[in-house]
């Protein structure tokens, strides 16, 4: 921009070909784009027509189902069951505060390390309409909509406040990063305190709230156990690397359902406690093996010279690990770690299968079991799928965003 020739004589500036193409009128460009991307040849045209037919049929089918065929009353009538199930009603405000807390964190995180794009606003708007539609249907739950919109407001407020702070490194920026990072690390225990410090017991976590608790427990617990496991597997000390390898391979040998079977029948004798806590332990232990494998890949990808250089400047092994190796390895392994996080998010549905725990899918099963809605199981499961999809999709978008942000400055 700076060396833009200011004293260019008036008239046509010749640009490189691709820029030159971009200067032609929109209608010409649009026509060319359509021709190149949709009707390049006879075969290509046929393909386009076939795809258009498929897409059209899909669209008609979806619209017909959503607006004409489906009976969404199963969702609106059972919204509390699906959302929080057995969570005590008089403690419901804790859920709203917890939701506000989560939205606050999202706003702070975006404001500190990223920025809302047009698609993010669209996503928020669509999910807002979705939630308000479900809540407003039937009329009595106006307040839930208000709470939800308030939480969204908190998110935007937090975002607006943090996004103001300039990104240049400085004491304020460092403080901001420390505070938000600290809040993120402390968020899980804080959220649990918000939910459970009153009359509700851990056993009453139910419905979608249970998914929302189980997944972070699995992810955070998986990282806390998985990072030492990955380091241990790469260790030169044989007993440590062997046992870590054995742990990882044995855990990955059986499906999560198998380990939940252990939680139900075997762990009772070993650690006891509430079933839901045992399920959380199993989720963390299970995720740890996969997290460790993701991080191990990153550790192997680091050049050996990093460790040797750290040694050469006189760092101890622990210091080298903490200051040189792990920061790099963790950054490389962000995509697979988020992949694992999405996997564990989807896997929280599994606690319903053999454990008597009812998360969102399990409560959808209870809704179907009601006499009135016996024929509406497709609607119920599609609702569950959409809810899980939205969260998983958001996670994968954040992951792409982080990858891009981290990739720019460092390579």
């Amino acid at each position: 921009m700076a060396d833009m020739p200011m004293q260019q004589p008036p008239g046509r500036i010749i640009l490189p070909p691709h820029r030159e193409r971009a200067r032609r009128p929109f209608s010409v460009r649009a026509r060319e784009w359509v021709r190149r991307n949709l009707f390049p040849s006879t075969g290509g045209t046929l393909l386009t027509i076939a795809a258009a037919v498929v897409l059209g049929l899909l669209l008609i089918g979806v619209l017909w189902f959503v607006f004409i065929d489906a009976n969404w009353r199963i969702i609106t009538v059972n919204r509390w069951l699906l959302f929080a199930g057995g969570f005590p009603r008089e403690e419901a405000w804790r859920l709203w505060v917890g939701m506000g807390f989560v939205f606050l964190l999202i706003g702070l995180t975006y404001g500190t390390w990223s920025s809302f794009g047009r698609r993010d606003h669209l996503f928020v708007a669509v999910s807002g309409v979705f939630v308000v539609f479900i809540m407003a249907h039937g009329g009595t739950a106006i307040w839930s909509s208000v709470w939800f919109l308030l939480a969204v407001g908190v998110m935007y407020l937090a975002y607006a406040l943090t996004a103001r702070i300039p990104r240049e490194l400085g004491p304020i920026r460092t403080l901001q990063q420390r505070v938000v990072g600290g809040l993120l690390i402390a968020s899980l225990p804080l959220a649990l305190v918000i939910l459970l410090s009153g009359g509700a017991s851990v056993r009453q976590l139910d419905g979608f709230v249970l998914n929302l608790v189980l997944a972070p427990v699995g992810i955070v617990g998986g990282l806390v156990i998985g990072i030492p496991l990955a380091i241990g597997r790469a260790s030169t000390m044989k007993t440590i690397s062997w046992t870590c390898t054995a742990y990882i391979e044995v855990v990955r040998g059986a499906p999560l359902l198998g380990w939940l079977f252990v939680a139900l029948f075997i762990l009772d004798d070993v650690i006891g406690g509430e079933l839901i806590v045992r399920a959380m332990v199993v989720m963390a232990v299970f995720t740890a093996a996969y997290m460790a494998e993701s991080i191990r890949g990153a550790l192997q990808a680091l050049p050996r010279g990093q460790f040797e250089a750290a040694h050469a400047v006189g760092l101890s092994r622990m210091q080298a690990l903490r200051l040189i190796i792990m920061p790099q390895a963790l950054r490389i392994s962000i995509p697979p770690i988020v992949g694992q996080a999405i996997a564990i998010w989807k896997d929280t549905t599994l606690v319903t299968i053999i454990l008597p725990l009812r998360e969102l899918k399990g409560n959808a099963d209870s809704a179907i079991a009601q006499r009135e809605f016996i024929d509406d199981r497709i609607e119920a499961y599609i609702f569950v799928a959409v809810v899980f999809w939205a969260v998983a999709f958001m996670m994968s978008r954040i992951s792409q965003r982080i990858e891009r942000t981290l990739g720019v400055g460092e390579r």
Partner: protein
């Protein structure tokens, strides 16, 4: 570690020596691990530990039998479990094949020059990758239960295919006496003959390919092998008087009979696994192709290959090197994810195991059996895929 250390002025204190520190660390580590194991060992009730309960009569029935016939009275729990293993293997095999086909098609479509096609492929991937497999399986099952007609109003395609809420029925080859009224095991003889002819055809193909490489004269190896196999198959079929007949399904009352019946449970499991895994394989295929230098594509265009030739002769063979390891991982996931059969009550190994545990207790033993079975199947999948991987990498010059 410090073999060539120069003579040191003063000996390093023991506590600062790396060898001693490693030794001490491992000692402490082993002690803690052993204590943890001991604690688990003590807290478990192992007085009745043993596997003899697997030999007792089952006392329950399993559905989803195919080519086997077991009942809960005479057959042991172990037999029932093996029937479950067989059910799992069937589902995993079908799902692996279908998801690979689907994944390759969608992955290639994702990179299509045709905007609409690539958007459709992306839509598919984003939908099925980001929803729980469990929900996909129960959704397909729900579509069968609620969306399909009752068997009285079955969808009938030319008396060959039937579709209803009892599942899909289709024609299937079965042994028959044939023209000469031979015993049914002659169908097996025919299969052996087919295998032999196939082996001969492969040998001829290999020799012709060798000749083509040496002389440069096109030998049409594939076509020749195919012709030989087809002629051999037809002739042997006629000589044996038709040892295999196609058995078309029929409807008896409210049930399918004859033919091959795919029940809704199996269909839901396989379709769910296929869609879910297919979306992951599509992403792997896309990444594998994108990792190739653009020049490969351009060179293929320059020497005048068609789009299809470019894909099958130039792009996919090279991309396979990167694709196969990741796809192997997905296949291992299919194996483990097949345990979700439990949600639609398909009697796979995991479900049968839980039923056994329900009847007889012995949760710990059953868990050992489960995990070892999954590991064995995973091991077999890895061995086969490593074989393919080795074949693919051999081509690298």
């Amino acid at each position: 570690m410090s073999a060539a250390a120069p003579p040191e002025p003063a000996p390093v204190p023991l506590i600062h020596r790396r060898s001693f520190r490693n030794f001490a660390t491992q000692g402490v580590y082993v002690a803690i691990t052993a204590l943890a194991f001991a604690y688990v060992f003590v807290s478990l009730d192992l007085r009745e530990f043993g596997f003899t309960f697997l030999g007792e009569p089952a006392g329950f029935a399993v559905g989803s039998q195919w080519l086997v016939d077991v009942d809960g009275v005479t057959n042991s729990r172990l037999t029932m479990y093996l029937v479950g293993v067989w059910a799992s293997i069937r589902a995993v095999l079908v799902a692996i094949v279908l998801s690979t086909i689907l994944g390759v098609i969608v992955g290639v479509a994702r990179l299509s020059n045709n905007w609409l096609v690539s958007q459709l492929a992306m839509l598919f991937v984003e939908i099925f990758r980001n929803t729980p497999l469990l929900v996909q399986i129960v959704l397909v099952y729900a579509v069968f239960l609620v969306g399909m007609p009752l068997i009285q109003d079955v969808i009938n395609v030319g008396d060959f295919f039937y579709l209803s809420n009892r599942g899909v029925a289709m024609p299937w080859p079965v042994p028959s006496g044939g023209l000469w009224g031979l015993p049914h095991w002659f169908a097996g003889v025919w299969v052996l003959v087919l295998l032999a002819i196939g082996a001969v055809a492969m040998l001829i193909r290999a020799r012709r390919q060798e000749q083509e490489r040496e002389t440069g004269i096109p030998m049409n190896a594939n076509r020749r092998a195919f012709t030989i196999f087809t002629i051999g198959a037809v002739i042997s079929y006629l000589v044996l008087g038709g040892p295999v007949a196609i058995d078309a399904p029929i409807i008896e009352g409210t049930k399918y009979a004859e033919g091959m019946v795919i029940n809704p449970e199996f269909a839901a499991l396989v379709v769910g696994l296929t869609l879910y895994t297919g979306s992951f394989i599509a992403e792997i295929v896309r990444a594998g192709i994108q990792a190739l230098p653009r020049g490969q594509s351009e060179a293929a265009n320059a020497v005048g290959l068609s789009n299809y030739q470019r894909l099958t002769l130039v792009i996919l063979p090279q991309a396979l090197r990167q694709i196969i390891p990741s796809v192997t991982n997905q296949f291992l996931n299919v194996n483990k994810n097949s345990s979700l059969a439990y949600a639609v009550l398909y009697d796979d190994l995991f479900r049968v195991a839980t039923v056994v545990q329900n009847k007889a207790g012995h949760a710990l033993e059953m868990f050992f059996v489960i995990i070892i079975t999954y590991m064995i199947i995973s091991f077999i999948i890895s061995v086969i895929m490593n074989f393919f991987n080795a074949r693919v990498t051999v081509h690298e010059v």
